[in-house]
């Protein structure tokens, strides 16, 4: 007997899984780019394992709302300088980004 396959939705064992084809979900991307705002973002606690992942304590209740981003050019320049000093951006990228500050 001929069978014409129909489209079904993917799901996980525990329910619908936000499947993004291996990409970050928007929530995951935001959390990755704002590590300081993660729930329970206190200092990492040694978990007693030799693995590369440190354990953080579970948050108690709802985390506080993140502070709004600074609009002060001086703060932005300081952040850029920190990125340059940390090797996150190159001097060329630093100059290019610095030229945009305050526009």
């Amino acid at each position: 007997m001929l069978l014409v396959p129909k489209q079904l939705m993917r799901a996980g064992m525990t329910g619908n899984v936000p499947y993004y084809g291996g990409r970050f979900t928007p929530a995951q991307a935001y959390a990755a780019s704002h590590p300081e705002w993660r729930p329970g973002s206190g200092p990492a606690v040694a978990g007693g394992t030799s693995g590369p992942l440190a354990r953080t304590p579970l948050p108690e209740g709802r985390p506080p709302a993140p502070p709004p981003p600074s609009r002060d050019p001086a703060d932005t320049l300081l952040a850029l300088q920190n990125l340059l000093d940390g090797g996150v951006i190159t001097p060329e990228e630093y100059e290019r980004l610095r030229s945009r500050v305050g526009r």
Binding site: M1, L2, L3, V4, P5, K6, Q7, L8, M9, R10, G12, M13, T14, G15, N16, V17, P18, Y19, Y20, G21, T25, G51
Partner: protein
């Protein structure tokens, strides 16, 4: 009903020794999984699917549920699939056509994970929501086994 998994297994030429069904019987009796249905299909070189008869000795209705679930009724050939509207619907949807290559045969099993029903309910009662589920790759499984062995040693 517990969560139901679809497992599609390709075969060059299936041989039915009864070993797989015997294992499913053991797992069902242990309350672990239940084989809800098993469908055999072949796919021609032009991409057309055809259901195959149940193996000799098996229930003649074997595969009927899976065929009704995974295929469109004949009178709905031109009906668009009922897929919820979503930005990433293309990666959230699947069909047998994605899984079975042309010119091959496959067994499609619907497996109810009876053990998972209470766990799923407990997770929901705890307020948990699914973020990701996957299986470890063989390489990562080796790593995990070494880590367990180191911990024991």
């Amino acid at each position: 009903m517990g969560p139901v998994q679809v497992v599609v297994v390709g075969f060059d030429q299936p041989t039915f020794s009864g070993e797989v069904l015997a294992e499913f019987t053991r797992l069902r009796e242990a309350g672990i999984v239940r084989l809800v249905d098993l469908l055999l299909v072949s796919r021609a070189e032009d991409g057309a699917f055809e259901t195959l008869a149940a193996p000799s000795g098996a229930d003649a209705e074997l595969g009927g549920l899976a065929a009704a679930l995974l295929g469109r009724p004949e009178d709905e050939d031109n009906v668009e699939p009922a897929v919820p509207d979503a930005d990433d619907v293309d990666v959230m949807a699947w069909s047998l056509a994605d899984a079975v290559p042309a010119g091959s045969m496959a067994a499609v099993a619907l497996i109810e994970h009876t053990w998972a029903g209470p766990l799923k309910a407990a997770i929901q009662r705890a307020g948990g929501s699914p973020l990701e589920e996957t299986w470890l790759s063989p390489g990562d499984l080796d790593v995990l086994e070494s880590l367990i062995a180191q911990r024991k040693g």
